[in-house]
Amino acid sequence: MRYVFSNLGQGLRRNLSMHLAVILTLFVSLALVGAGVLVKRQADAAAEQWGNELQITAFLCREDDPVKRCLGAVDSAQKAAITKVVKNNPEVASFYFESQETAYQKAQKLFDPKLFQGDQPVLTPADFRESIWITLKNPDQFQGITSAVLGLDGVSSVKDQRDVVQPILSGMRVMQVASLGVAVFLVVAALMLVANTIRLAAFARRKEIAIMRLVGASGLYISLPFLLEALFTAIVGVALAGGALAAGMWFGVHDRLRDYIGFIPWIGLDDFLVALVIIAIVGPVVTLLPTLLLTRKYIKV
């Protein structure tokens, strides 16, 4: 054991530049993997908040609705008529009602909590509209349902949220694909760097390894220094990438974006933890996998 640990320091120092190259590549690729995960979760959260990308929302009239078309709150006869039209429309795949209360609760997550507090809160459930969320069979065919519903009594407005949401969502998807795509290249680069590091290390220690094999050291014992080095570089890489992601989330999302763009539910600590877990798995796999395969090859017992 003493031999193994004294070798860890020695091995790291001997191959310092290679290990630094591995750590840096790993750092950047894991940071990108993490960023891709976070962007994906952000896009998912936004998509969920705004309804499915394919959804159309029909808002129903509320009490004192400022929209001229409305003559007071929607009544049950109107609702039944609207339901019938939606149900029978061939463009509609499915639909569901969202109550004023649900709309109110969703809003609480988005807006300043002060708006909901106090004896006379600025916003109450009555300020929100009941709505029908319609999922289309084909995202390109929405003209029929939009015009059919818009003409009905009790409908305040119809919103095709894709007009607003789509550019933002596709922007996020592009970022997600780009970061993960670049991450894949860098992960491959990291794998090759690890392989090269091991080849050099095995070569530098070939005499020692030959004698260990000769006197009957176990395969695990011989490859342990390599595995520890791999684990060490992985831990450093994961720590650096995790730190970069945390910093990015703190200064980017927490301090800036949240202030500017308040209507999206922003990713938080649990999303960061998910990204951290993923890179904490990917990192060691990237360094340990080639190490295991190559030590078997170079150190075959």
Partner: protein
């Protein structure tokens, strides 16, 4: 202790077998010379005993076990029972004499206290008392080979394999190394030594197995190197 049954070894990519139907039996405690011209298959035979190579056909038994069939993870255990020395000593230049010997125990997990106890005794046995702190490069060839023998024997193996151990040494030093191997053999260790050093074989009058192109052409209980010389 070591038993070959119709062993054939053909290296990949070569047509002529390095060993071609070898059957020999070495008893526990024997001292055996393996002789023959360069390329006759001596080193290959030793490599098979160590499971550095596998026989293409036939069986190799070490201590009653058929080692061709041995699972890979059991090979280290086999090698712990076999000490090996080579013509080129194979010492680690960055370690002292004592560290070189201790290394063989460290890497098989021997406790430090045990290592501290055993290493000086083994150095005494091979005639290197007081040289434990020297570096290998400060020693003569004969002394370096003694270090290698100490390393091979420190674990008290059942078998000692020596592949041309005197190949780099002058005759006087070679004779000393032979006395040391004989002494180790005297402790009950089976010794198999590959060599083409006529003088030594003739002098020692031990069992001689001669290989020629991978075949056993002679197996004499107390032989000389060869008739043709």
């Amino acid at each position: 202790m070591i038993r070959f049954e119709r062993v054939v070894k053909t290296y990949p990519g070569s047509t002529a077998p390095a060993l071609d139907g070898v059957s020999v039996d070495v008893e526990k405690g024997e001292f055996v010379f393996l002789v023959g011209a360069s390329g006759s298959g001596k080193s290959t035979a030793l490599r098979l005993v160590l499971r550095e190579a596998r026989a293409s056909s036939g069986r190799v038994y070490v201590a009653g076990k058929e080692i061709n069939r041995l699972a890979g993870w059991k090979v280290p255990r086999l090698r712990r029972q076999i000490g090996t020395v080579f013509q080129d000593f194979r010492l680690l230049p960055s370690k002292t004499v004592a560290e070189n010997v201790a290394f063989a125990l460290e890497v098989i997990g021997t406790p430090r206290r045990e290592i501290k106890r055993v290493v000086p005794g083994t150095l005494d046995l091979v005639g290197l008392s007081g040289l434990g702190d020297r570096m290998p490069e400060e020693l003569s060839g004969g002394e370096q080979q003694r270090v290698a023998i100490a390393r091979a024997f420190v674990n008290r193996p059942m078998i000692l394999l020596a592949d041309e151990p005197t190949g780099n040494l002058d005759p006087a030093t070679s004779a000393e190394i032979m006395r040391l191997l004989e002494q180790i053999n005297g402790t009950g260790t089976t010794v198999v030594m590959a060599t083409h050093d006529h003088g030594i074989v003739d002098l020692m009058r031990k069992r001689v197995i001669e290989l020629d192109s991978g075949r056993v052409v002679r197996d004499e209980a107390s032989g000389a190197y060869g008739f043709q010389h």
